[in-house]
Amino acid sequence: MSAATLSPEESAAVYGAPLATRRIQPVWIEVENSEDRAYYLLSPGLDPHFYPASEAAEALAQGDAQKGAELDRRFRGLAFRNPVPPGATVSGFVLTNLDEGVKVVQLDLVANGRARTFSMFTAVPGFRGDYHASGVFKRELYAPGQVTDYTDDDAFRAALEALPCCATSKDGSRKGDPLNLVVVGGLEDAFPALVRRGWRPTEQTWSGSILRMASSFLSGERYAYAPVSNLYLFGRSQDLALQKARDNIHQRNHLRLWLSPMTYHGRQVWVGQISRDIGSRLTIHSPTLTTHKIDPDVDEARAALMEDMAYSQSLAKLGLVDGVGAATRSAPRKNLTTDPYYTDGRRSVLMFDRRPTSLDEIEILPWLALGK
């Protein structure tokens, strides 16, 4: 498998049309099949809302019939065409929604009674090449001596419960959103699961994004890249921020993840925070002057992610542990932007597996009863 994401300039050159103006991003994919059966590449794995070639051609033709026919021919010629017969190599493009900064390229291939999945975390050329998240998987964040591997479930649970309750401000003096999420797995299983369900990395807060968010805020239009403000854990801001866009900027789900100095049976353990945005409001507590109004019932967002991941084909185990500390509705805690929240004080633990798992293979860990 090989894949490359095109920059706006590259895609305009290859396609002869400015795809990026419609927020369409081609991903080039080559599949070499050395097995005994034909494989089918599943475009919804790369992006559940990918663009069929003909639809993109129509969008770029803007009603010009002659141009439309020409673009349609061209776009169809460039598209990845299934199947990939045994012994053959097939290459072509899948048209995805534009990602800036980084892109997780998730390749799901299905054959008779068999599936193969591949994931690549790539920096998108032409955008901010220095996005530090692209280094998370390549760089060693921790020296080998700093990492504790857990093989005993009880000890692992105790370690998870001993983590801090919340992310903090940069100097650690103020508490932010609750750390209500633990993800066990990495690029080969956890991130494919998130991408299949429409979760995409965010670009970091920077001026262009803030400007566009302001205009999106005014118009109420969907904008996939509302910036995420920084929260801190382990002495650094989040390693990854992901969001699942919904109808418009007022409704989206956010999560932030930090790679922890723990492993579980040798596998990466990420600690993070998830919340559901239900609106936007003005604030003086954020440099962007607007912030998301989060659903004060943060456990609902936590449960929503667990449910969403059940459909990801990769969730193997799930459970709940303590560690956040309960806050009642009548005495809610507040995050850094003064949004109140309440919680039963638990964090969800999601363990992923590369092998495709069906809905009736998910194991519920014998820890705390699943609530919510």
Binding site: S43, P48, E55, G113, Q313, S358
Partner: protein, 375 residues
């Protein structure tokens, strides 16, 4: 009274006027209209709330919010806790407090807090402990006519799926719509059952290649209606028949069901138009239909009245097949001849077999019928 105080009072009155805490929280009317189903020791009852019931129960009719509240009651007769996966009922469902937020008023203060508390109390709460019954509201996206409610209940290495067909109460003149949209059934004497794949394939290739209006019939869906329904709902298709769909005819009638991919945030605009065919496979229903999309796709104006089918129906068909791979319900896949071929169409129809048992990507059996040629 000074000006500021009177202003405050005005706002307070506005806040009170727009939302009143419901006096009664009686769900007996919902219960009496409920549709129920039982599977593997779990009984589910559900009712789509009318605007009137929504107002009575929630204190607001959610006008303009584009939210359809569904009352769901689940009795767990098993020995394991169960968890309702709301994502399986509607991948774009709303959280209770998100809906409550839409009912908030500026400077509503205490009223807003009361709205939150009320919605929170009514929302469906997991888990459903063994031997207990839970009822609550799931806030879904609106559907008209008959709502296909998929209920996926997760347990320890088990999934209990149930599908219910709920009438959507009509508050206006369109009262006859429900009956008209009830699904078509053939008398048993008109159905031919096929017991093996070869004769099935031959029969499928003999089905009409196009609608009376000339649009290719490029898909066959097979399985219990509940299984097909669960698969498509999990992938965010919802029932949505429009005039252009109903203008297409096969077997002398309009589509029995029309589904549209309706995910949020610029999802593809694929539709499925399906007609029950007069045959069965191992006793299970067979639907012939069309996967297509409108000219303009997701970029077409939402209120476009002229809907024309984009000629590249093969692309839409292949997209649907790929989408269904993720549904957990696709058991087998094959390609057969029989669809009207054209300049842009290879004349193949995708044959999708659905099953109840949840399946993963690695479980799909691909039949060696016609091989898909480079699409």
């Amino acid at each position: 009274m000074n000006a500021l105080l009177s202003l405050t009072l005005v706002f307070a009155l506005v806040g009170c006027a727009t939302w009143q805490a419901p006096a009664e929280m009686n769900d007996s009317a919902l219960r009496s209209r409920a549709v129920s189903a039982t599977n593997e020791g779990v009984r589910v009852s559900a009712t789509v709330l009318s605007a009137d019931e929504t107002r009575r129960l929630l204190g607001t009719d959610l006008t303009g919010a584009q939210v359809q509240p569904v009352w769901v009651e689940i009795r767990n007769g098993t020995s394991q806790p169960k968890w309702l996966l709301r994502t399986g009922t509607d991948p774009d469902y709303f959280s209770p407090l998100e809906v409550a937020w839409s009912a908030h008023t500026t400077l509503g203060g205490r009223t807003n807090a009361a709205i939150d508390e009320h919605f929170d109390k009514l929302g469906f709460k997991n888990p459903i402990a063994p031997g207990t019954t839970r009822a609550g509201i799931v806030f879904t996206n609106p559907e008209q006519g008959i709502k296909l409610l998929n209920v996926d209940l997760l347990g320890q290495k088990t999934l209990v799926p149930l599908t219910l067909f709920l009438p959507v109460p009509q508050d206006s003149a369109a009262a006859g719509a429900t009956a008209a949209q009830a699904l078509f059934r053939y008398p048993a004497s008109e159905l031919t059952d096929h017991g093996d794949l070869d004769t099935l394939r031959a029969a499928l290739e003999r089905l009409p290649g196009a609608t009376t209006q000339g649009e290719p019939l490029n898909i066959v869906l097979m399985g219990e209606l509940e299984d097909i329904g669960a698969a498509v709902v999990r992938r965010n298709y919802r029932r949505d028949a429009r005039a252009a769909d109903m203008g297409q005819q096969v077997f002398g009638r309009s589509p029995d069901a029309v589904l549209r991919k309706q995910a949020e945030a610029r999802a593809p605009s694929t539709w499925i138009r399906a007609w029950r065919a007069p045959l069965t496979f191992e006793g299970r229903a067979v639907y012939v239909g069309q996967a297509g999309r409108p000219v303009g796709g997701r970029f077409a104006p939402a209120d476009a009245t002229q809907v024309r089918t984009h000629e590249d129906v093969d692309e839409a068909r292949n997209l649907l097949v790929q989408d269904m791979m993720y549904s957990g319900g696709l058991d087998k896949l094959g390609f057969a001849r029989g669809a009207a071929a054209g300049e842009r169409s290879d004349g193949l129809r995708a044959v999708l077999f659905f099953a109840t048992r949840p399946l993963s990507l690695a479980d799909v059996e691909i039949l060696e019928w016609v091989s898909l040629g480079g699409r």
